[in-house]
Amino acid sequence: MSLEKLELFEVFLRSKRGLDHKHAGSLHAEDKEQALEYARDVYTRRSEGVSIWVVRSNDICASQEDDSDSFFDPSDDKPYRHATYYDIPKEVGTM
């Protein structure tokens, strides 16, 4: 089978119970079962993970860097969403 026919998968690893899965990289595989096995073979050779997710790259819907104005900018002019916007006197303890 030629490499071009293989699908691209993204690999996410949970390094320790309780933590989020983090993107580790990608790989080519015939299907999701195989992708999971390949991921185990190449991405978790030194106990890097206790759990693996593989996701077809095509199934990931991603924002574009160019979108960032309309996507993320609005919160920059809303400083009142941050705790530091409010002056709280020291005497009353942390809030």
Partner: protein
């Protein structure tokens, strides 16, 4: 965050998780329920999180669904008393702050519903349990918000009490719940601080404004203490929840923390403390306090608070009135799909 327990038993943990990562694998190893439960409890005891695909006792799952959905419902119902004041807030700046806080609470509801769904229950089931009254939410939201001062008292006291509880829950044993709490706590600090700022402004204002602050404090102080639930000796779910580390600190311990942190905040505002029996106990290093009116607590929990019916009616109404949006979305999805098929057949 690394717990000392983890370091101590690190080798053993790695061995256990390598062999027994998912429920499926455990079934493959053909373990009895008792053995599975022992492994589960061992994970809990060594401060490992339980993750969605792990085997877990049915009662643990049920207990979590109850607590997490109740938490989610509280975030959503909690939008109502403050939502009422967005148009009434006395300046544009205060409107934007309040709107922003209420939006955050909607987000918290979403995080928590989604985390609850990892336990294998559907959103629609959760919503109908709320609407039928089968599921509870924090009884504090059955108290009406009557004045601008209440916006201060709610942010400061209600969110303040919620934070004490949620900080503790960052260490809860169920991974998705713990991670949700970490995210939520990051956003909560703003909620409490904006509330306290409202109180400070009122407390140093005209005598009438100061009176408004006092009145809000008087009405919200005791119900905030009730947010921590019944005394440990009366709490139906406490013992099991502690053993499973769903809860990390008892109702009474959390309540004490809140009482102690709130006392100097009331003093700073120059307001009268609503608890006349409150005294500093030097020996214990904490406050002794007066007894909560538990009759009121149970009356409100059992549906007889001021706003119980109104809160649920409003939720049902909003849900029904939003049906056309959900319908339109699924209609649009069909339309897009059909267009795609048409384009493909044309090509």
């Amino acid at each position: 965050m690394i717990h000392s327990v983890d370091l101590y038993s690190k080798n053993r943990i790695i061995k256990v998780v390598n062999i027994l990562t998912t429920g499926e694998e455990m079934t493959k190893y053909n373990k009895s329920e008792a053995e599975l439960e022992a492994i589960f409890q061992q994970k809990i005891d060594s401060e490992q999180k339980i993750e969605p695909k792990d085997w877990m006792p049915e009662a643990y799952r049920k207990n979590l669904i109850r607590q997490m959905s109740q938490h989610a419902h509280s975030e959503i119902i909690g939008m109502q008393p403050e939502g009422n004041f967005i148009t009434r807030a006395p300046s544009l700046r205060r409107k934007t702050v309040l709107l922003s806080k209420v939006q955050d609470e909607g987000g918290h509801g979403l995080y928590l519903y989604s985390a609850t769904e990892t336990l294998g229950i559907e959103r629609s089931e959760l919503i109908s349990a709320l609407q039928s009254g089968q599921a509870k939410y924090a009884s504090i939201f059955n108290y009406p918000a009557q004045t601008w001062g209440d916006m201060g008292a709610i942010g400061w006291l209600v969110d303040g009490a919620a934070i004490v509880n949620q900080v503790s829950l960052q260490r809860t044993s169920y991974g998705p719940y713990a991670r949700g709490m970490i995210r939520i706590c990051k956003e909560e600090s703003f909620h409490q601080r904006q509330g306290y700022v409202i109180m400070m402004e009122l407390a140093k204002g005209t005598p009438a404004q100061k009176q408004m602050a006092q009145d809000s404090l008087n009405r919200f102080y005791w119900p905030s203490l009730m947010m921590f639930g019944p005394h440990d000796s009366e709490s139906a779910h406490s013992a099991k929840s502690m053993k499973w580390k769903i809860k990390r600190e008892t109702n009474d311990d959390l309540r004490q923390k809140f009482i102690d942190q709130t006392a100097p905040q009331i003093a700073y505002l120059g307001l009268e403390h609503p608890d006349k029996d409150l005294v500093w106990n030097e020996e214990k290093g904490q406050h002794d306090s007066g007894e909560i009116d538990w009759e009121e607590f149970y009356a409100v929990i059992n549906g007889n608070g001021h706003s119980n019916r109104q809160r649920i009616q409003h939720h049902v109404k909003a849900h029904e009135e939003g049906a056309w949006v959900r319908d339109a979305m699924s209609e649009y999805k069909q339309k897009k799909l059909q267009r795609k098929i048409n384009a493909e057949t044309a090509a």
